[in-house]
Symmetry: C2
Subunit: 395 residues, 2 copies
Amino acid sequence: MTFEVRNDETGAFAPAGMFDIRGAEAGPLARLRVGVKDVFDVAGHRTGAGNPDWRATHAPADRHAPAVAALLAVGADIVGKTLTDELAYSLNGENHHYGTPVNPASPACIPGGSSAGSAVAVGSGLCDIGLGTDTAGSIRLPASFCGVWGFRPTHGSISSEGVVPLAPSYDVIGWITSGVGLLSRVADVLLPASLQSSCESSKRLLLPDDAWSNADPVVTAALSGSMAALADRFAQVSRESLTGDALDSWQQVFRITQGREVWQSHGAWIERAKPTFGPGIRERFQWASTIDETAAARARDERRRIANSLDEALSGALICIPTVAYPAPLKGMASSDASRTRALRLLCIASLAGLPQITMPVASADGRAIGLSVIGPRHADHALLRFASSLAAPN
Amino acid sequence: MTFEVRNDETGAFAPAGMFDIRGAEAGPLARLRVGVKDVFDVAGHRTGAGNPDWRATHAPADRHAPAVAALLAVGADIVGKTLTDELAYSLNGENHHYGTPVNPASPACIPGGSSAGSAVAVGSGLCDIGLGTDTAGSIRLPASFCGVWGFRPTHGSISSEGVVPLAPSYDVIGWITSGVGLLSRVADVLLPASLQSSCESSKRLLLPDDAWSNADPVVTAALSGSMAALADRFAQVSRESLTGDALDSWQQVFRITQGREVWQSHGAWIERAKPTFGPGIRERFQWASTIDETAAARARDERRRIANSLDEALSGALICIPTVAYPAPLKGMASSDASRTRALRLLCIASLAGLPQITMPVASADGRAIGLSVIGPRHADHALLRFASSLAAPN
């Protein structure tokens, strides 16, 4: 196997390296620099998906993924492919083959993944827009750990054509920026025009006890000021549990339905190409191969009930939770199943129902960034971004 | 099996029938009536996909497909589900279980399919916008046969979430209207905002000999005036063959790659549910089940070469061809493989490369509608629609 070396000191960029594809002369994103997670097709480059065997067994892309083409069409420039966890099936950002991009907010800690390079490149000022994907939290978690803004849109709003899938009923294209203004401007470009007008403001705020009590005290303490300021904007605030203490079973429903789709997406390639995976990823694919259809079907039924209950809870409301239950762990310490489980308990909420979520870099603790999240109703992406902008603006 | 009877005399509406879901109070499509092909999820209704066994084995949809939600969000009203060929795997519009919607342009003839009901509902004035899908021509062919406008966007521009798949690497959401103005207004709503600005005008027109010589003389004669008027707009016109006489092999590449994906999409359900299919559909699924991966992989390689050659041919150019090689056949006469093969030779061009195509109801012959098509470069959807509008406007 040969590959080009990474060519910046943060390690944010994938083996494909940095390069320059100039976008249209003019347009709303003219001359903004985009780092593209190495699961998107960029014409003429191999899509590596964070795994050398994937890279070796796939030809260079004939054309850009539509989301990449869309950014180029409005004047953005693509400055490189960014590092991803292997096949995006991790939340750590520690790539066994290619290394760990340096978290700009706390260099001793993991950046989080799987859109690790996009979060690091934005946080380090190497690009303005980090294009990524989010299935289980792969935009939200690294944005939170790296102290930048991250947005996961409503599932199904943006075509995933030309993007390596992980679990299609969960996969979304998302993006990371260092300010909320640009987060919105990218939404104006990538989301269907129709959604712009479809936003109503929410009157109630949910601060669900079961979600908040799941987070480390250091996280809740760091977020308490921002959370209180946010709550002040609402006439009605509820702390009622979202799940009746079932967050752990939600997390299991997520993991089983996701794992089944992961194997359907990649099992045939794995059995044929026998790729080398790093620790954690390897065991996770192995486990995914054992999920039987009966268990998956039962979990899918449960997922539908959960999604419907969330749609109901979000009618006229927003949900505010910590993005991640704990601050970024030290490098080399993160691969435990226990921490993954704890992260998924909060991240699975928006994933299960395909809801839009924004993570805001509002706090820090012990020199580590802590993100606060707001989840909005289905298709209220623009309203959610406007609300976040209003929080960031001086009153 | 029970189902509601169709409730209009054209038969355009699916067993789910006509109903009324009111969209937003205001918006760019306020109070326009949409008929939704019965492969899209509409919340609270079963998605029937044109087959009673599909309908019986699937629960009512929990929520709208994003494309449906997007139209409602800008003020359009959904007035019903429209009839489709079984699982959209036909170009005829003669549904063995539910009947044949009446072609408003020539009632003795088939309407074409698979978006048969959407084309008929628009042509009959029962709705303003016919939402449909196009894999092998399922928007373009029925629009041509029913004397209405039809648009197939660039593949991958609009998410197919909440839509029954047929062959995902070919499937697109498309729409049918009775005028080009509304065709564009729907594009403004459903396509990503970024594409609006990315259009350059094309300088050359290709009228490829191999495509034109494939059509019946009655079709080329009917289209000759409009084709000449269109050619007058271009500084350069070329009649050079597109394929070097290989249209038939292109059609075979299409059919094999499509068939393989069709079986991957639906084989498991067919083996489990053992549905009853009508003639034509049944044999086609049976054949799709026999395509082996080696043959499919070879055809996919060939497809990539074809798509690249089309991207090159369309650099700064448009292609103008007849939409269908023959006028709408009489009912009950259309199911032959020979006519399907002839139709696919022209329809496969845009499908293979995922290119945008517009069909314009410019002519008729012996009382049957004949559509003229223009295919544009990838992602030049808006430029293509603007060009078509300029043709329709008085000079």
